[in-house]
């Protein structure tokens, strides 16, 4: 009996060690050369969004590929609204992944329009002819935006400050608002970043927004530490042409939380109110005041392409 067990152990060791040695030969070593990056760069000559998956490949992608550094590639809110986009991944990996499915927002796997394998890299172009496209967004209105801030005591105007706005008086700041890339759920997102100095509501009036079938947006809390603490929720209210179409609480554990509101194709004024009702955070069983939560907000209208 013992002799048989010993034999089985030896067999198991040979199999496992053999498997590990063969696997080591496969996994230990670089698979991507500088020429591979050059080859991929030569294939990209437009400003289509370039999504890199897995995420750990992104620093090298940004080093070698201009397309990987663009606003739309680095901080895209998701992959909705683009009838065609590119995905850079490792050669030999599946064409679609759970990460991409989350960014796409639904389970339909888009068609591969084009595929190039360049050494250790795979560049695929995906078609989504049936999805609504982006008609308008908050970023397109940045020049005409004029945020207002409301606290329990008063209403404040927000003054232009660089690329953004400062709300409230110098002695009693309310918030800083700017378009920039912030980290939400460990991903960079290009959004309107609202940095609250005290509990307040920031109101944005977007005049003459081109609406389609839906308004799609995201709300997230920047910085993982802010999310790990139990913070007060963020309240978002949306109005279209004076009618409230959405009021929703977003908690800090929802990550990059998406919302969709169905609309009628038209040109209308859209009002957004983003409220942080209080400044408390709960950490290790105690509530305490915490400085400057940063809410990341983005909004797009989606619909059929105009002829």
């Amino acid at each position: 009996m013992a002799s048989r067990l010993a034999t089985w152990l030896v067999v198991a060791l040979v199999v496992v060690a053999g498997l590990e040695i063969l696997t080591a030969a496969r996994v230990y070593g670089s698979r991507i050369s500088p020429q591979d990056w050059e080859g991929v760069d030569n294939l990209i000559d437009d400003d289509m969004p370039l999504w890199t998956d897995p995420a750990w490949l992104r620093p090298a992608a940004r080093q070698h590929l201009t397309a990987a550094r663009s606003d739309v590639s680095v901080g895209a809110p998701d992959l909705m609204g683009w009838p065609r986009f590119r995905v850079l991944s490792l050669a030999g990996t599946p064409a679609w992944s759970a990460t991409l499915r989350r960014e796409l927002g639904d389970d339909r796997v888009p068609q591969v329009h084009e595929e190039h394998i360049v050494g250790g890299l795979a560049l695929r172009t995906y078609d989504r002819p049936d999805v609504p496209i982006r008609l308008d967004d908050l970023v397109a209105h940045r020049r005409r935006l004029s945020p207002e801030a409301f606290t329990s005591l008063r209403q404040s105007t927000c003054r232009r400050h660089g690329d953004g706005w400062r709300c409230g008086r110098k002695a009693e700041p309310v918030a800083t608002v700017s378009f920039r890339v912030v980290e939400v759920t460990f991903q960079p997102r290009h959004c309107l970043a609202l940095e609250f100095d005290q509990p307040a509501t920031i109101e944005l009036n977007i005049a003459d927004m081109q609406l389609g079938d839906s308004l799609r947006g995201h709300v997230g809390l920047a910085d993982f530490n802010a999310r790990l603490r139990t913070d007060a929720p963020t309240v978002v209210r949306l109005s279209v042409a004076g009618d409230t179409v959405m009021q929703r609480n977003f908690t800090d554990d929802e990550g990059w939380a998406a919302f969709v509101v169905h609309t009628v194709p038209q040109v209308a004024d859209v009002r957004v109110q983003i409220e942080r009702p209080d400044h408390l955070t709960w950490h290790r069983g105690k509530a305490r005041d915490r400085p400057r939560p940063v809410v990341c907000f983005e909004l797009r209208s989606l619909g059929e392409a105009r002829p």
């Binding site: 067990l5 152990l9 590990e20 996994v27 750990w56 090298a60 080093q63 912030v182």
Partner: protein, 580 residues
């Protein structure tokens, strides 16, 4: 005549056997020593490419302070009793014992070449520019040397024990199953305490085992356990576990042989050595405690009980407050220790338990205070199992602070290595004859994955993972920790542009950068600066640090890295430069 011949022949054989035993023991010690020295040499040379990691910077600074105090006392012995001077020196990093730091500081005083550059004032005795007595290596390398010597000692011990058990192949298997692991190799070369306390724990347990039936070993147990406690607080668990083992074995024996417990066994020399002599020795080796032993020891325990939580990426989620998933240390052990080694170790642990001699099976002999268990120690298999598994259980415990990564249960690995030797011993005696000839090849094959991973991963073995996980690439896909500690910094520092400027260090500690400057790794003219005043920025990718990279983009005005340091295409360190 035949009988006489037989007797004579027998006597001659016995005499030859007796002569052979000392020769084989001498050979075993010789091979063990050679392996130990080779390990130390390879670590000393190889770790010149390993950057100074976060905690090392603090330990370097502490080492300089402690060594300056020693020199002070040597010059004027009356200063030994100068409490203020002593506390001033040992206040630096008093949350860890002083032994390794003292050794490192004195090693630098012996072997370090003068610092090449430094940002701090070099006129004080702590940061003096005078070379060591035999200046042969940079200061950082000299300070890493004691830990590297201890790693070599660990290899020697494992070989010696394994070879004594089942021959040289078992010895090599035991030694290789420990030191060839990528994470062990990485930590073994640093001026840190994790491998030293693993080796010290091994030494403590081996001495304890022997001490149960050997008065000489029992007398040594006190100093050995004191040295272990003076290395790192993990050894306190080892002392408690040894004591628990002893009393459990004694209770079992009492249960089976009613009345067969002698009073001298209730608090024998080994227990006194562990619980009294050991702590006294460790106290003597930690001058910070001398001024207020109880209060400061209580502070020391409180610090570790209420340790800050670190960020750990595990299976794509970031954890920075307990509980970590219970699976964490077990999965991460599998992810960083090749499965062949784990399989062999598991078999060895099972065999060890099955072969355990019950404390009840020995004839009840009058125990002696210095020799409580007759001529053999009971339950050695169980003892090895406990020490192989307990460190993982501690980390898995839901209320434990998140101390960090795999280094926190390295103390288990020497016992897994011993178990590998035990498995070999069993195979050699039990496997069918036709298979036995192949066993050395099987042993070698079981070490190849570790050796391959470690050689390929060097100097970035903190980011290396086992083959079946997919190496660094597989671990990155699975969402595990990338590197921690800003370790992958040497190639980034060496590539800094010639024009002097400010460098943002990210997760690299300023004291580590200071040591890099003293040793000439840090390029001349560059200064560590906050990001707002930096022209170059280092970034060490981890899940929870993504926001830092975005801050770099914003401050430097570029999203394009100028350098990406990789292991198998996985970024370990990124450098950004402000565009012209």
């Amino acid at each position: 005549m035949l009988r006489a011949a037989q007797l004579g022949g027998g006597a001659a054989v016995t005499g030859q056997a007796k002569a052979a035993r000392p020769r084989s023991a001498t050979r075993r010690i010789g091979v063990a020593a050679a392996l130990g020295l080779l390990t130390t040499l390879l670590l000393a040379l190889g770790h010149r490419q390993v950057g100074y990691v976060r905690d090392e910077g603090i330990y370097f600074e502490a080492s300089r302070h402690y060594a300056a105090w020693v020199m002070d006392v040597v010059e004027r012995p009356s200063r030994l009793a100068d409490r203020k001077r002593r506390d001033r020196a040992f206040r630096v990093n008093h949350e860890h014992p002083a032994l390794l730091k003292l050794a490192a500081g004195l090693s630098a005083r012996l072997f370090a070449t003068p610092p090449i550059a430094q940002a701090l004032d070099d006129t004080d005795s702590v940061h003096a520019s005078t070379p060591g007595v035999f200046p042969v290596m940079p200061e950082g390398a000299a300070m890493r040397l004691p830990a590297q010597l201890i790693a070599g000692l660990g290899v020697a011990l494992l070989y010696w024990v394994g070879a004594a058990r089942a021959g040289p192949v078992a010895g090599l298997l035991a030694a290789g199953s420990f030191i060839a692991l990528p994470r062990v190799w990485f930590h073994a070369g640093l001026h840190c305490f994790d491998v030293p306390v693993a080796v010290a724990g091994l030494g403590l347990v081996l001495t304890y085992r022997r001490a149960l039936s050997s008065p000489r070993a029992a007398w040594w147990l006190g100093p050995v356990s004191g040295l272990a406690i003076a290395t790192k607080h993990n050894a306190l668990f080892a002392v408690a576990l040894c004591a628990a083992h002893y009393y459990a074995a004694l209770a079992w024996r009492w249960w089976h042989h009613r009345g067969a417990i002698d009073r001298q066994q209730l608090c024998p020399l080994p227990i006194v050595a562990l619980t009294v002599v050991g702590p006294l020795v460790s106290l003597a080796l930690w001058p910070w405690l001398w001024s207020a032993p109880w209060d400061r020891f209580a502070d020391y325990l409180a610090f570790h009980r209420a340790h800050d939580y670190y960020n750990i990426a595990y299976l794509g989620a970031n954890y920075n407050r307990p509980p970590l998933p219970v699976s964490y240390p077990f999965v991460m052990t599998w992810a960083t220790v090749p499965t062949a080694t784990l399989l062999l170790a598991t078999a060895g642990l099972v065999v060890g338990i099955l072969r355990d001699r019950s404390p009840a099976t020995t004839r009840p002999v009058k125990a002696k205070w210095a020799r409580p268990f007759d001529d053999h120690a009971p339950w050695l298999g169980r003892l090895t199992l406990v020490f192989a598994v307990f460190p993982l259980i501690v980390i898995a415990w839901p209320t434990i602070p998140i101390f960090g990564g795999t280094k926190h249960w390295l103390t288990a690995y020497p016992f897994l290595a011993l178990a590998c030797a035990e498995a070999w011993h069993w195979l050699r005696s039990t496997a069918p004859r036709r298979i036995r000839a192949w066993l050395p090849a099987v042993a070698a094959a079981s070490l190849v994955p570790s050796l391959w991973a470690t050689i390929h991963g060097h100097p970035h073995n903190l980011s290396q993972y086992a083959p079946l996980v997919g190496g660094a690439r597989g671990a990155a896909n699975d969402g595990h920790c990338r590197g921690f500690w800003g370790a992958a910094n040497v190639p980034l520092l060496r590539a800094l542009p010639r024009e002097p400027g400010g460098v943002s260090l990210h997760d690299m500690h300023a004291l580590s950068a200071e040591q890099a400057a003293r040793d000439g790794v840090w390029p001349d003219g560059h200064r560590a600066r906050p990001l707002s005043r930096a022209d170059e920025a280092l970034f060490f990718p981890e899940l929870h640090m993504q926001s830092h990279e975005l801050q770099i983009w914003q401050r430097l005005g570029t999203r394009r890295p100028s350098q990406v340091l990789t292991l198998d295409d996985v970024p370990l360190g990124v450098r950004y430069s402000r565009p012209e």
